[in-house]
């Protein structure tokens, strides 16, 4: 390619953007660089599996397009017929043929328009159903992935996967099908026509496909790289955007605006650069393919003309061949557009396939079991940690091997300093993680054998961050049990002392909490979180720092609710405020991942262990 465009600074920009901070390229962690491994062939397999259910409809759509093309192509034939046949007939006062032309043309016009419309609707149906399927898959898969995955993948990237990456598949589907079909159709039909006219000329024309093919291959390789980069770049932009919008208060209070502008500029520039690279890659392909095509036309014409002069080719054949040649290469640009959307979609699909290839670290059971009927009159269930050990995949032991039994209906307080492993214990019980060794049993059933819905009927965990989803307060409480009636929702709110503040909201229970509960205080959010738990009415309730933002009356309301509404449930309570301990039947003190004390509050307070010290410190803090 000798096109001047190659002088454009497309690749290896000298003004290389300084490595974005969060890309952390020094670590080589696939999460940091947003390059999760995609198993070989997964991208193609994903595309196939998306299109497979659409086979019949794709075929139907193709037929519509073929018919439409036939109707369009009939036009010139009718013109020829009109001039060659109908006009002479008309002169003979035979109006039939011209009337036939009129009717035929009208019919073709209506058919062309109608079929085009039908094709658009039919292919939009296919596209939209594929997109619906893909969006759903991403979403469901992301929801099935475990918490530790999300902590590393970030919401921004997931948003990018399900918006901009899906969008690029949409572009492919929107234009791709039509382009591809018409390109293939004209290549095949015109090549056949040329070969039939003259084998030699046809063969040369077909031979020109070789450099075109090489060009396409080169383009695909280069564009593939650029588009992968672009997908990563836009994801980084999105991550930054989301982080800023979600942290707007500290951004303002700490005057981060200018620094953020600068950081965003770097990310945005990187996207701008690869975006430009992608457009230039396309420009290069267009130049290259046009050059090949036009050179081939000139060459074939020259050779054909030479053969006409030495008499081995009919003039008429050359004339026809020349006219067809132009049309042979017409769809080259459209092929380029198709390749362009294909490469862009392939890069996005690769990222999506990488996400879908992540296996949940807490998989659904292959052979699910149900919980046995409750053994006693108590709604709680027995929890057993049987030889459990837990360490992160990267190594580093969090909980050394331990055994622990929590009898049904017992309220257990877990105390200890930050990093002692309390939350890990809770997360094992809620099956956010699976133990590295050993098993966690609920009434004798391994948690790993319980299907998720069954598990959540058994175990519910309330965490410190009481996240509110868009929707009304009532809907947020009903998250605990979606089928709950308004009455039940209000009862739960009343039991926890949340009813009063909810009724003062503009629309009471129907108040939209807007963006993550902007106007609802942290303490109120925790109360809503508790109302959720009450409504869910689980056999085992885990509270992980769930009362940290409550004031003392609020905390007392929670404790009252636990003593009444939740009476008889097995409860694991992690709290820094030892007030919770007052209602506990049993206290576990953890240090460095080990349970160092275990007994009733009274026993431990009376003793000389760490808990006695903690308790004294806490009593002092109460003043």
């Amino acid at each position: 390619m000798t096109a001047p465009t190659t002088s454009a600074p497309a690749t290896g920009d000298p003004d290389g953007v300084p490595p974005a901070r969060e890309s952390g390229q020094d670590t080589g962690d696939p999460f940091d660089r947003d390059v999760l491994p995609t198993p070989p062939g997964a991208t193609a397999a994903l595309l196939r599996s998306l299109l497979a259910p659409m086979k019949a409809r794709v075929a139907g759509t193709t037929v519509l397009l073929l018919l439409q093309q036939a109707a369009v192509q009939a036009g010139p034939l009718l013109v020829a017929y009109a001039i060659d046949t109908a006009v002479p007939a008309f002169r003979r006062h035979d109006h039939g043929p011209l009337a036939a032309v009129a009717a035929g043309y009208l019919l073709c016009a209506l058919a062309a328009g109608g079929l085009q419309g039908a094709f658009i609707v039919a292919s939009a149906r296919v596209d939209q159903d594929v997109l619906l399927d893909l969006r759903g898959r991403i979403f469901r898969h992301a929801q099935a992935l475990s918490v530790d995955f999300h902590e590393r993948y970030t919401s921004g990237r997931l948003i990018s996967r399900s918006t901009t990456d899906v969008e690029s598949l949409r572009e492919l589907l929107d234009e791709g099908l039509q382009e591809l079909i018409s390109v293939v159709l004209s290549f095949v039909s015109i090549s056949a026509m040329l070969l039939w006219l003259d084998a030699g000329l046809g063969a040369v024309a077909v031979a020109s496909f070789v450099p075109l093919y090489l060009l396409v291959r080169l383009y695909r390789r280069r564009a593939g790289r650029v588009y992968r980069e672009r997908s990563t770049a836009i994801a980084a932009v999105i991550v930054k955007f989301v982080e800023t919008v979600n942290g707007i208060r500290p951004v303002r209070a700490f005057r981060r605006e200018a620094a953020n502008d600068a950081e965003f500029r770097v990310l945005n520039r990187r996207h701008e650069r690869v975006n430009g690279d992608a457009l230039l890659e396309m420009a290069r392909y267009v130049v290259g393919s046009r050059l090949v095509a036009n050179t081939a036309v000139a060459g074939i014409v020259l050779w054909g003309a030479w053969r006409v002069t030495d008499g081995s080719l009919e003039l008429g054949v050359l004339a026809a061949a020349v006219l067809y040649l132009r049309r042979l290469y017409d769809p080259i640009d459209r092929l380029g557009m198709f390749l362009n959307s294909y490469q862009s979609a392939a890069a996005s699909l690769e990222k999506i396939a990488g996400l879908l290839a992540q296996t949940p670290s807490v998989p659904e059971p292959a052979a699910p079991r149900q919980l046995p009927p409750a053994r006693s009159h108590l709604p709680g269930r027995e929890v057993v940690f049987d030889g459990v050990r837990f360490g992160y995949r990267t190594g580093g032991e969090v909980l050394p091997r331990f055994d622990l039994t929590l009898p049904a209906g017992q309220t257990v307080a877990v105390v200890g300093s930050t990093g002692a492993g309390k939350s890990t214990l809770a997360k094992l019980l809620a099956r956010f993680y699976d133990p590295t060794e050993g098993r966690v049993l609920l009434d004798g059933v391994d948690l790993r054998d319980l299907p998720m819905p069954e598990l959540r009927r058994g175990v519910v965990m309330v965490t410190q961050e009481a996240f509110l989803f868009s929707g009304t307060v009532a809907e947020n409480i009903a998250l605990g049990r979606p089928e709950a009636s308004r009455e039940e929702i209000e009862r739960a709110a009343k039991a926890i002392g949340a009813h009063d503040f909810i009724t003062t909201l503009p629309d009471g229970y129907d108040t939209d909490v807007r963006k993550r509960g902007g106007r609802i205080s942290a303490g109120q959010r925790q109360l809503v979180g508790f109302a959720r738990a009450l409504l869910a009415d689980p056999a085992v309730l885990i509270l992980d720092e769930a009362t940290s933002s409550l004031d003392i009356p609020g905390e007392q309301a929670v404790q009252r609710a636990m003593a009444t509404v939740l009476r008889g449930r097995t409860a694991v309570v992690i709290a820094h405020r030892l007030s919770t301990v007052e209602i506990a039947d049993r206290v576990l003190v953890m240090e460095h991942g080990r349970i160092v004390e275990d007994g009733t509050p009274a026993e431990l307070i009376a003793g000389t262990g760490p808990f006695a010290g903690l308790h004294r410190a806490w009593r002092d803090s109460l003043a």
């Binding site: 658009i120 982080e243 707007i248 420009a283 036309v297 998720m452």
Partner: protein, 607 residues
């Protein structure tokens, strides 16, 4: 769950405004202006390229009819050379058009995005309370991509094809004006139909874009709230909300497709019917000898050559409509007033910045979107925190404590009354200076994707050194950072190591105390700490607080005891100020909040 997401939020105009697509798109002019030369050049090149494309078949015809027919070897060679040259020229022009706009249009897109980001950062906090972040984000991504495509493709080809159609029409009218008029006939219904189509399509396009924003919001929430979803196992309700929204989006997209199909059908059929009519009329004229067959053929080939430009108008219009609604969505956010940075001139003689501490004078506040008629959240707050004094603020859940703290760094603006720092009304201070004077630790300790050191030092004034960093970390008892993989250089935040609530809270506290700010606002700063750590932080904080004017929101006696005095916020007013022990004795509501004893005074078991 969120089955009815508000889209767009109520302060944005809903749906397409009466404004025409053209007028909306013209608002992009300031962004397009810097690249106007390139865009014009690209359009000219596109016109030139299509001219070259039209000449090539003529050369082919000339070659076949002339030199080849005459067996003129030199002529053939010359013809082939012309063909080659034209072919090369065409290829280069095609590339040139793309090359001309590739970088500039990426730059326009990036500029639009950067401006949106910068603007969004500076919009009032109240704006962010109302707008779902997914709606903001979709404006900055998918909408802007639509705009780039519009500028790169639709705009150019609307022009090129428009010119082509006009020229073709003129050519046809010159060839034969009666036939030309027949060809022109469908123009009137086409224009009328396009007008109807545009309006409907704009509505559907806008709806689809808003729905993409809603979908983005659901995806975001389902990740941010993943622990709640996992904890309750309600993947399903969230999944149902997602499914409903994505089905709704699918339906809207199909409505768009049906509209597009109708305009395609009309735009293909009507001109084709006109061509058919021309053919018949022309054939009759040829038959009675008033028209030559050659003219009719030439006329019809011109008409057929115009087929593509005419047909393309339909989807070009559709793309332009989408670009217009995307522009509209973009400017909805850009038109929102950013935080007013103007500084009110201090009335009267300049007050010397004598140490006067933090004063609230008859401060009233109600949220701008509070229902009309509802009482203000803060209704006449009078409070004076003396220089170097620390004051704890106690109040029931939802009494407005956090709101009160947000007024000091002007995250929200007071509705009435005033707040002064060392005697200077905060509205007379530049925002930058005000926020540098007041350090805040929020209830929710947000860390940014940056190193521990950067996260802490952003609280300082920029020239804080490592020693100060370590002092701040020590005050907040954040020694754990030294055990992190890379110490204070460890990346934290959403894209870094995830820390526990207690750890984040301590870093947020370190951020507030770094650089020894004159005024400190702490919102329940110790809630996530365990007892031992809390005691250690309190001991260290006392040192810091000794020289700082501080307002501390507190839920616990232990936190209250950090402060010199305590104020009780109740029903929008300061109900009492005093020491912890005084209020505990004299104020039943305070006693209730601090000890849980019921306000009626009946003694519950005090253990």
């Amino acid at each position: 769950m969120p089955t009815t997401l508000p889209s767009p939020p109520e302060d944005g105009p809903t749906g397409p405004t009466g404004r025409s697509a053209v007028r909306t798109l013209l608002r992009l002019w300031p962004y397009v202006r810097p690249v106007r030369a390139r865009l014009c050049a690209a359009a000219s090149v596109a016109i030139l390229a299509s001219c070259v494309g039209l000449v090539i078949p003529l050369v082919l015809k000339w070659l076949v009819d002339g030199p080849v027919a005459d067996r003129d070897g030199d002529g053939v060679a010359r013809g082939a050379l012309y063909l080659l040259l034209l072919g090369v020229a065409e290829a280069l022009l095609f590339g040139l058009r793309r090359w001309l706009v590739a970088r500039p249009l990426s730059r326009v897109e990036a500029q639009l995005r950067a401006d949106l980001y910068a603007h969004v950062q500076r919009l009032p906090v109240a704006f962010h309370d109302r707008w779902a972040s997914g709606q903001l984000l979709s404006r900055g991504t998918t909408d802007l991509m639509l705009l780039r495509q519009f500028l790169a493709f639709s705009l150019t080809f609307l022009l090129v094809n428009g010119v082509t159609i006009l020229v073709g029409m003129v050519v046809m009218l010159l060839q034969d004006w009666t036939l030309g008029l027949v060809m022109l006939a469908p123009a009137v219904p086409l224009v009328a139909f396009s007008a109807v189509f545009e309006k409907r399509y704009a509505r559907a396009a806008r709806l689809a874009q808003d729905q993409v924003g809603d979908l983005t919001t659901v995806v975001e929430e389902s990740v941010l709230g993943i622990r709640v979803i996992k904890g309750f196992g309600r993947h399903r309700s969230q999944a149902r909300a997602f499914r409903e929204l994505s089905w709704r989006l699918r339906d809207t997209e199909l409505r768009k497709a049906r509209l597009l199909a109708s305009i395609w059908a009309v735009i293909m059929t009507l001109p084709e019917v006109a061509i058919g009519a021309t053919l018949v009329v022309g054939a009759v004229q040829v038959a009675d000898g008033s028209l030559s067959a050659g003219t009719l053929v030439a006329f019809l080939s011109t008409a057929l050559a115009l087929r593509w430009p005419v047909e393309s108008i339909g989807f070009l219009l559709a793309m332009s409509q989408e670009a217009a609604t995307a522009t509209e969505r973009y400017f909805e956010v850009m038109d929102a007033q950013p935080e007013d940075l103007s500084v009110r001139p201090a009335g009267g003689p300049p007050v010397p910045a004598a140490a006067d501490g933090l004063r609230f004078e008859n401060v009233r506040f109600r949220y701008p979107d509070a229902p009309p008629g509802s009482p203000p959240l803060l209704d006449g707050i009078d409070l004076h925190i003396r220089p170097g004094e620390s004051l704890a603020l106690v109040g029931a859940t939802g009494s407005g404590k956090t709101t009160l703290t947000a007024l000091v760094p002007r995250l929200h603006e007071v509705t009435g009354g005033r707040i002064t720092l060392d005697g200077r009304d905060i509205t007379t201070l530049p925002r930058e200076e005000l926020r540098a004077m007041v350090a805040v630790a929020f209830e929710e300790p947000t860390l940014f994707s940056a190193s521990v050191a950067d996260n802490v030092l952003m609280g300082g004034d920029g020239d804080t050194d490592t020693a100060e960093l370590h002092r701040a970390l020590a005050v907040a008892q954040a020694d754990f950072v030294h055990t992190l993989p890379e110490g204070t250089a460890t990346q934290v935040g959403e894209q870094g190591l995830s820390l526990s609530g207690g750890q984040r809270q301590r870093l947020a506290l370190a951020r507030a105390v770094v650089g020894r700010p004159r005024f400190l606002v702490l919102d329940d700063p110790l809630s996530a700490l365990d007892v031992h750590t809390e005691a250690a932080v309190e001991a260290a904080l006392r040192q810091v607080l000794a020289g700082t004017t501080a307002l501390i929101v507190a839920h616990r006696p232990s936190t209250v005891l950090l402060a010199d005095r305590v104020a009780l916020l109740s029903h929008g007013r300061i109900a009492a100020v005093g020491t912890h022990h005084e209020l505990l004795r004299t104020h039943p509501e305070y006693a209730h909040l601090m000890s849980g004893r019921s306000p009626a005074g009946e003694e519950e078991d005090d253990r």
